[in-house]
């Protein structure tokens, strides 16, 4: 019964086992810049080898595994710096890889006989991508620099994280609508290509939702915590 494991993943668990049990962690790994080929090393060892904060890694894995998990940021000893890097890399992944790839596949999957309709479909998708760009750019331009200055002990008067969380919208909602439109209204033939792009959209939708969950449940509380600490200093 040595393979038996209950509850959350720990530092001493094997990294390759984690990957095989929960394949979505592949995405987390690449966002932390961890390369494959780590043999039998434990999660802790692999993280230390690649200079990744183990606590942050584990907290994200466990949060993604169990969306009901109650997390108190103060008890996780996550590194805000690591978290910010992680989120930044996620943005790069969505904007430079995932969404363009879906578009390419979409173009291949559309029925060439439906020229006019395809134009409208692509237009919808492009508009959506633009929205995601805007959403993430805001974080890159305003939130991340703010966090970096906080980490250096500076508190700017003209910004606080409350401004961000108030306007933080769920960017996956419009992708869900797009998926519904394709499924319900697009007169596609049942092809492997259309299935493949739909699978990708389903995955991407889920991935975006968990990306947002990490921001709302881990990132924002972490910043609030730091704001309070700095605010208390004379």
């Amino acid at each position: 019964m040595t393979n038996f494991r209950l509850g959350k993943y720990r530092e001493s668990d094997s990294m390759s086992k984690l990957l095989c049990e929960k394949y979505f962690t592949l995405l987390v790994l690449s966002r932390f810049g961890i390369a494959l080929g780590f043999g039998n090393k434990s999660i802790g060892e692999v993280c230390r080898d690649t200079g990744v904060d183990t606590n942050t890694f584990l907290t994200i894995i466990n949060l993604l595994m169990d969306k009901n998990l109650e997390i108190k940021y103060s008890e996780t000893s996550c590194s805000l710096e690591s978290l910010t890097n992680y989120l930044h890399n996620s943005h790069t992944y969505f904007l430079n890889y995932r969404l363009p790839e879906i578009r390419t596949k979409l173009v291949e999957a559309l029925d060439p006989a439906q020229k006019e309709l395809n134009k409208a479909v692509l237009h919808y998708f492009d508009e959506y991508v633009l929205q995601v760009h805007k959403h993430m750019k805001y974080e890159e331009k305003n939130v991340f620099p703010y966090v970096r200055s906080l980490l250096q002990g500076e508190k700017k008067d003209n910004y606080n994280i409350g401004i961000f969380s108030k306007q933080h919208d769920q960017i996956e909602v419009k992708l869900t609508e797009f998926k519904h439109i394709l499924i319900k209204y697009y007169p596609a033939k049942s092809t492997n290509e259309i299935n493949s792009v739909l699978f990708d959209i389903f995955n991407c939708e889920k991935d975006l939702a968990s990306h947002n969950a990490i921001e709302d449940r881990l990132f924002v509380p972490a910043i609030l915590d730091l704001e309070n600490k700095i605010g208390k200093k004379p």
Partner: protein, 204 residues
């Protein structure tokens, strides 16, 4: 209906809680988002964060709190409460609930009770086809007209247009103009050159 139905299970026994969750998954009949609550004290944070539609609750965990207080705490006047009965309770207590699930119920019975609770308020709203007026409005919307312009053209009030648009969104589950455009083209309601919002030389 907006996405999934959120069900919170408030029951101290992990075994019973997990059993119910397994049954709900097995039923697979409604889009559900289930979460567990072991103690009443946790309810407050659940209300704030998850905003459940249905509570399945063991009446004995409430103690001195009344069902009314719970409903008030939730801030959701449409909140449904179903009693999870695992022992004998006074009928007067059970009457206060919208329904009662017994731990000896079969999966079908549980499914039926849940569906009954959820469906009642908005039974026959779905699958309605669009009215002529609604189609007219869709065409205006995708031509890029504002609500006010549409109102003037059709001799209606802006208010009426807004409520038509709300109905359209509910029937088609499409909220954006770009989405309506796709719908209109599929259903041959417009010619492409009538649509304002489309770039013309973006063919691929």
């Amino acid at each position: 209906m907006n996405g999934s139905v959120k069900i919170a299970i408030i029951e101290p026994s992990l075994l019973i809680r997990s059993g119910l969750i397994t049954i709900l998954h097995r039923l697979n009949m409604i889009q559900t988002d289930v979460f567990e609550v072991a103690e009443v004290e946790q309810l407050k944070s659940v209300f704030g964060r998850r905003n459940p539609d249905i509570l399945v609750i063991n009446p004995s965990v409430l103690g001195l709190i009344s069902l009314q207080q719970i409903k008030k705490m939730s801030g959701n006047s449409d909140l449904k409460c179903i009693a999870l009965q695992n022992s004998l309770f006074d009928n007067a207590i059970l009457k206060a609930y919208d329904d009662v699930i017994s731990i000896y119920d079969s999966a079908e019975q549980i499914g039926e009770k849940l569906t009954r609770t959820i469906i009642e308020p908005e039974s026959n709203k779905r699958h309605e086809s669009l009215t002529l007026r609604e189609k007219e409005i869709i065409i205006c919307v995708i031509k890029g007209m504002t609500n006010k312009q549409i109102a003037e053209k059709l001799y209606l009030s802006t208010h009426t247009i807004i409520s038509h648009r709300r109905n359209i969104a509910a029937k088609l589950q499409i909220h954006s103009t770009a989405g309506l455009t796709i719908y209109a083209i599929v259903n041959k309601m417009v010619e492409l050159d009538e649509i304002k919002d489309l770039p013309n030389s973006n063919g691929e």
